[in-house]
């Protein structure tokens, strides 16, 4: 029998393969390619403060709370505040809402903010000092956020605040039953920590404003919209008539008294609802909010209105005051008109019109005006301002309620941040035109200060936002909301100013459980799906830290798209290959 050795070795070698296929670059087959650019989650694109939601959720879901708080603080100095009072546009935009129920982002933000009691301020490291000096006029959330981000960018920031303490409406507008002062004060600790010069009790008039423009390298006006327009009707001189913001300021300072038994509040926004709830807490027995439009048009949030109703506040819609009625200089009541919706106005809402002959008098010991405030600043009322807060004076910036746009705490924080970034670019003499396209989360949302400081692009700055269709729900199971709010009984609430709502259960457990519900849209958590499912071994694992996405091997990837389809959280997209 012929032995193996008897065969012609060369002939045998002809049958044998000699090498693997690495020389065969199948990448040339591809007409689509995966891309791993940092994308914005739908929630983050909707958060006016630019909170890095998916990022902090990733850390919180793993119980790394301190890291989560640090991530938040890179963008927002006041998570414990937003986590209480924000109307949560993030939750309205949350991709998980299409799966079961939106993630309780605000609750997680609140819990993390409050963990500052344990972890401290968790501030980002400030940039090297620039020697530039910036003045911020107004110490509300917009001015504070602006000073915070200016200081983090290495500038010397000085805040001029008319009030005795910083906080603006967070202190003298929003009552403690919605925002306890400990929560506010804890987060304001950054003022000292960052060496921000805080000049309280200092109201800037036109003369000081001019001097600031002379003496500082940049000046930011964040003076709010605190001028009450009044009702503009007969009887505003009567005793028993109050301006909403003044009444709230007194109530919040514990100095309001003698409001009477029956109170009518005129308005439909935050001020109206909070004034009504404060009146109840100050001993009023019958409190009604009268609004000239319908419930659906009220600017106040449903949550607040519901809480107020539970406490006994009555809401009367389609009613407006014609005049205040009094006797001997003292208010007795209000002459009310019934209103009906007329033609739509600029806001798209139907303009209320009085119904002829509908006038009637309602009794009241006190009437509180609660119309929205008018913006004011000592630099000249008619300032032209762009969406970055830049004005026609290159060293003057404007933000918060004092500038046009939404009037919420989160938008004030976001606006202050934009103005800080814009001012930083001005102070450094950089070219803003080249930068600005890279700064907005999701291409149109809030600015990312963390990205600006790091010289990187904000998540989804090119407009890529992870939507529900980009999430692969096969990798998630349904789970009811874990972080739930519980509220004091209405009786307990109206007996004082104790905080009404708290998150049920143990904070760490609730935060972790709720964060675990988050899909972490656009945020690579190194799950390994793409690595495991690539038929061409062409996913190169993640090499960098939090949020960094993997890469792909262009020599071999055939562009099948499995990685993009199987990424649970929309990190990977497929784009046309350039050839």
């Amino acid at each position: 029998m012929k032995e193996y050795a008897d065969y012609d070795a060369a002939a045998m070698d002809l049958l044998r393969t000699t090498r693997n296929t690495l020389a065969n670059k199948t990448g040339s087959w591809r007409h689509l390619r995966p891309e791993f650019g940092l994308k914005a989650a739908a929630c983050a694109a909707a958060c006016p403060a630019g909170n890095p939601i998916a990022r902090f959720m990733s850390a919180a879901a793993d119980g790394r709370f301190e890291e989560a708080l640090r991530e938040l603080k890179k963008e927002n100095p006041l998570p414990g505040v937003c986590g209480r009072v924000c109307p949560r546009p993030c939750e309205a935009a949350c991709n998980r809402a299409e799966f079961d129920e939106a993630v309780g982002t605000r609750a997680v933000e609140r819990l993390l903010g409050d963990m500052g009691a344990e972890f401290g301020l968790c501030l980002p490291a400030p940039a090297a000092k620039t020697g530039k000096r910036a003045a911020v006029v107004g110490g509300g959330p917009a001015g504070l956020s602006c000073a915070y981000h200016l200081a983090l960018s290495g500038h010397d920031a000085t805040v001029f605040e008319a009030g005795g303490e910083p906080g603006g409406l967070l202190r003298f507008g929003i009552p403690a039953y919605r925002l306890p002062r400990e929560a506010l004060d804890r987060e304001l600790g950054f003022i000292d920590a960052l060496g921000i010069n805080m000049k309280t009790g200092c109201r800037a008039d036109a003369a000081l404003a001019a001097r600031l423009l002379d003496e500082f390298d940049a000046v930011v006006a964040a003076t709010g919209a605190l001028v009450s327009p009044g009702l503009g009707i007969e009887g505003e001189g009567l005793a028993g008539y109050f301006k909403g913001l003044e009444f709230l300021a007194a109530a919040n300072a514990g100095k309001a008294a003698g409001i009477g038994k029956s109170v009518i509040v005129i308005g439909g926004g935050n001020t109206a609802v909070d004034a009504a709830r404060c009146a109840l807490r100050l001993g009023a027995e019958d409190v009604a909010v009268m609004y000239r439009r319908g419930r659906e048009d009220m600017p106040a949030s449903d949550e607040e209105v519901a809480e107020a109703e539970e406490e006994g506040v009555r809401f009367v819609f389609h009613a407006a005051p014609a005049k205040l009625v009094g006797e001997g200089g003292r208010l007795r009541g209000v002459a009310l008109m019934r209103m009906k919706p007329g033609e739509p106005d600029e806001s798209g809402r139907r303009k209320p019109e009085p119904v002829a002959g509908s006038e009637r008098e309602a009794h009241a010991d006190a009437v509180i005006e609660a119309a929205g405030g008018r913006a004011d600043n000592p630099f000249g009322r008619a300032l032209e301002v762009d969406e970055w807060g830049a004005t026609d004076n290159e060293k003057l910036f404007l933000c918060g309620d004092a500038a046009p746009g939404a009037r919420t705490v989160a938008s004030a924080i976001g606006g202050g941040k934009r103005a800080a970034i814009r001012a930083d670019v001005f102070l450094r003499g950089s070219d803003f035109g080249a930068l600005k396209g890279a700064l907005l989360v999701g291409g149109a949302g809030a600015a990312s200060a963390a990205a600006h400081r790091a010289g990187e692009s904000a998540p989804g700055a090119d407009g890529s936002v992870v939507r529900f269709k980009n999430v692969n729900t096969a990798y998630f199971s349904r789970a009811a909301r874990a972080a739930k709010l519980e509220r004091l009984s209405p009786e307990a609430r109206v007996s004082g100013f104790e905080e009404v709502a708290s998150v049920s259960g143990v904070a760490a457990e609730a935060a972790r459980a709720e964060a675990s519900r988050c899909f972490r849209c656009g945020e690579c958590d190194d799950c390994g799906n793409c690595l495991l499912f690539c038929p061409d071994m062409s996913i190169i694992g993640k090499t960098a830290g939090a949020g960094a996405a993997p890469g792909f091997d262009g020599d071999y990837c055939k562009g099948c798209g499995i990685c993009a389809r199987e990424c649970p959280r929309g990190v990977i997209g497929m784009i046309e290959e350039e050839r």
């Binding site: 044998r16 393969t17 000699t18 090498r19 693997n20 296929t21 690495l22 020389a23 065969n24 670059k25 199948t26 087959w29 591809r30 096969a474 990798y475 190194d526 799950c527 390994g528 799906n529 690595l531 495991l532 499912f533 038929p535 061409d536 071994m537 062409s538 091997d553 020599d555 071999y556 055939k558 562009g559 099948c560 798209g561 499995i562 993009a564 389809r565 199987e566 497929m574």
Partner: protein
């Protein structure tokens, strides 16, 4: 959840499977478990082409390319040779398509199983003869288009039940697996690896080219087949005791699986309903069997 990682990457890049090939993934997972001490016997099938043309081969283990109908008997021969050499720990893996298993190679497979030869036999099932241009096999499901069963005369026969044929041989281990569930698949390869005698794995591998489906849907379709119970995952021990690997309750509608595939495009909703009924009946039959013979 953190997924399993591939430690033994024994399929090299540059192989020539179509984009989105399910069969390529099946090999990746199997070799991860079996490791470098494995000899593959590869009959004519897509995989004999995926390796790429001589003198290249994407598989970093020894491979015998063999005739279409001979996977099992060549594997038996390789095992015999190893025994002669006193090598007991090299895995012998016959790796064949559905055509090479359900049809032309069934005789050789039955012979090896009847002798309980010590081999692992994997049928990667893409439900047609793909290598030669999508001809029907006895693994092609009812209703499917292939080039030999055109839409006007789509396949009118049910898919053959290969698992019960293998069970009838009383082999120590047989299991179905899906590339959409790599951890389950690899667990089953490991069970096969440590057992002795003839071990059979039936791995469901969507084929974008032959199924006329978008290549990015490969995993999604494999998953939909499992979740709709069209391809149940289970194991059979010694041809008798059975265990369900996963009970997709409630199941997804089988239409979710059927609709995205071009090979079923011609079916109307009544015909899809008929498939649904067949799937429901088969599930009932399988779960009864399992109930009566639990592992």
């Amino acid at each position: 959840m953190r997924r399993a990682r591939i430690e033994n990457e024994l399929v090299s890049k540059g192989h020539v499977a179509c984009p989105g090939c399910g069969a390529a993934l099946a090999m990746r997972y199997a070799l991860n478990v079996l490791g470098p001490k494995t000899i593959i016997v590869l009959p004519a099938c897509c995989w004999s082409v995926i390796t790429n043309r001589h003198p290249e081969c994407c598989l970093e283990v020894p491979v015998f390319h063999t005739a279409f109908e001979t996977a099992a008997c060549v594997a038996s021969g390789v095992r015999a040779a190893l025994e002669v050499k006193g090598d007991n720990d090299t895995n012998v893996l016959a790796w064949a398509g559905d055509g090479g298993t359900f049809d032309i190679g069934l005789q050789a497979l039955s012979g090896a199983a009847e002798r309980n030869d010590d081999i692992i036999y994997v049928c990667y099932d893409n439900e047609a003869y793909m290598n030669t241009g999508v001809q029907r096999s006895s693994a092609t499901p009812w209703g499917a288009w292939t080039t030999t069963t055109p839409a006007t005369h789509f396949k009118g026969q049910e898919k053959k039940n290969i698992m019960e044929i293998m069970a009838a041989h009383r082999i120590p281990y047989a299991a179905t697996a899906s590339i959409s569930m790599p951890e389950d698949l690899m667990t089953k390869v490991e069970r096969a690896r440590v057992a002795r005698g003839t071990r059979f794995l039936h791995i469901f591998c969507p084929c974008p080219t032959g199924w006329r489906s978008s290549p990015d849907l490969t995993i999604e379709l494999a998953r939909a087949a499992v979740e709709s119970r069209a391809f149940p995952l289970y194991e059979i021990f010694d041809g008798a005791k059975r265990r369900l690997s996963l009970d997709p309750a409630p199941p997804a509608p089988v239409a979710d699986y059927i609709r995205p595939q071009g090979r079923f495009r011609h079916l109307d909703s009544a015909q899809i309903e008929a498939i649904q009924n067949r799937v429901d009946e088969e599930w009932l039959r399988l779960t009864k069997l399992i109930e009566n013979n639990p592992a």
